[in-house]
Amino acid sequence: MSAIVMNQVVKTYPNGTSAVKGISLTIEPGSFTVILGPSGAGKSTLLRMMNGLETPTTGTVHVHNTLLTRKTLRTVRRTVGMVFQQFNLVGRLNVMTNVLTGRLAYRSWLGSMLHLFRAEDFEIAHEALARVDLSEKAWIRADQLSGGQQQRVGIARALAQKPSIILADEPVASLDPLTSAEVLDLLKSICKNDNIAVVANLHQVEYTRQYADRVIGINAGQVIFDGPPAALTDEVIEALYRRPEVIEEANHVAATTLAYA
């Protein structure tokens, strides 16, 4: 069973921006996939459609054979963790509570009213915190941590969901090189040890080469490249980072050429 199957997804924003122009792809369980492309390529849009933060204009998304709809949203998101560029922690809550929010989807709204969590949820959260090596910060307010630490709390929150997939949208774009490597190492080890599929958006070619099992290159809302990092030649990268108009034009030329052929 594939982790994620996207079929001919198109996303056009209400303001007319065409961010994703018909992409089909399959993510295998336990793989580390990097979506590579320049900024504005449509990476975030693509990733956010995988857990329903954006709804495709047309096309379908299946997660573990479940079609993403308004009805299945909650159960799907429960098993899909997400890590953000800006960490997206609730700064005024302490680290432990932030990690515990990863358990909310399993619990009713009434039960969470009083900020009371079950012992087993604490256990899971504690484990997740230990996994990212931040146990000693459990009671500190999240906004008092450094960027790298906050990102690790973000990962712990995703782990607390007991996910089978983690989506990471530019997880290291706000971090310095040293912490970036730490965070990516962590994601990679989670992927390999816990058999969790990781899909990460990156715009740095070096990190992609270092960490990816599979690279999906995107530009102007289209898949330009799909293969192992070893196949990521300079020509591919050059094509990937070409300005969108050039690609549009190339496509247009190709299309007309085909039409006349």
């Binding site: 432990m96 256990e123 504690h126 484990e127 915190l129 230990a130 146990s135 000693e136 459990a138 009671w139």
Partner: protein, 267 residues
């Protein structure tokens, strides 16, 4: 699960959990409120048993009588004018006192404390009370009302202006100090221009508030729509009261929209 997995047992321990005092504070607060309720002899029963009476009472306002609307509108305008004059008065007073009430600008501790105490005093006196005093000494009419609003809100505006002036980056004042500018020059070229936007926001807010409050000053004889409202309520003329209340509410809701629109423009 019969046996805990090994990994769970070897987890690094969490640091000791800091004491969370929130529940204690919340309980204490509820206790105090409850005691106060007992002391004031308030029981929710009054409300529940009297509910039908209350509903019946409010239904008496069902037939507003607008036959005297023009004179009511004039009274409403009087109330608006009262609020406007009060606000301008407050602005002028605050403009001259605030620089002395800002810690970083006041020439010395003495003027600072004096200015702050003056503003505190003005703020502490409820405007209805001031209106009572002014009506008693100046006679009935909107003017004592405007003065009462002005004095009370000058305390507010002065405090807000002073706090904004204190928040201005100190480099701006230093730059003016460095060119040898005097106190008033520092205000005109660094202080006021830096807080212009906040000032206009606060002043609009106070204008809004003064028009609202102006509507009740009539109750103590200070002019405006309040007098008519008080009289009709006292004489149980519900139809007239209803008309007055509607005019008042609609005007104030319109002003509310207007002022939030203008405030939005400022930002």
């Amino acid at each position: 699960m019969a046996v805990k997995p090994l990994a769970a047992q070897s987890l690094p321990p969490l640091p000791p959990r800091p004491r969370n005092l929130m529940p204690i504070w919340a309980t204490a607060l509820i206790g105090v409120v409850w005691l106060a309720g007992v002391q004031l002899d308030i029981s929710p029963k009054t409300l529940i048993y009297g509910w039908d009476d209350i509903v019946e009472y409010f239904s008496r306002y069902g037939h507003p009588d607008f036959s005297q609307a023009p004179s009511y509108v004039k009274l409403m305008l009087e109330t608006i004018a009262m609020g406007f004059w009060g606000t301008i008065f407050a602005f002028v007073v605050a403009f001259f006192i605030a620089p002395f009430a800002a810690r970083n600008l006041s020439p010395n501790a003495w003027t600072y404390n004096l200015a702050r105490e003056a503003l505190n005093f003005m703020r502490a006196m409820p405007d209805v009370l001031l209106a009572l005093v002014f009506v008693a000494s100046f006679g009935l009419g909107p003017l004592p009302g405007a003065l009462a609003l002005g004095v009370h809100t000058a305390g507010f505006l002065g405090k807000f202006f002073a706090e904004s002036l204190e928040r201005v980056d100190k480099g701006r004042y230093e730059a003016l100090d460095a060119v040898g500018a005097g106190f008033s020059q520092k205000m005109m070229y660094a202080g006021w221009p830096s807080i212009l936007r906040e000032m206009s926001g606060y002043t609009l807010y106070i204008l809004d508030r003064n028009i609202r409050t102006g509507a009740v000053l009539g109750l103590v004889g200070a002019g405006g729509i309040g007098i008519a409202l008080y009289d009709t309520l006292r004489m149980f003329e519900y139809d007239q009261s209803a008309a007055l209340l509607i005019i008042l509410i609609v005007t104030i809701m319109l002003l509310d929209r207007l002022s939030s629109f203008v405030r939005g423009k400022l930002h």
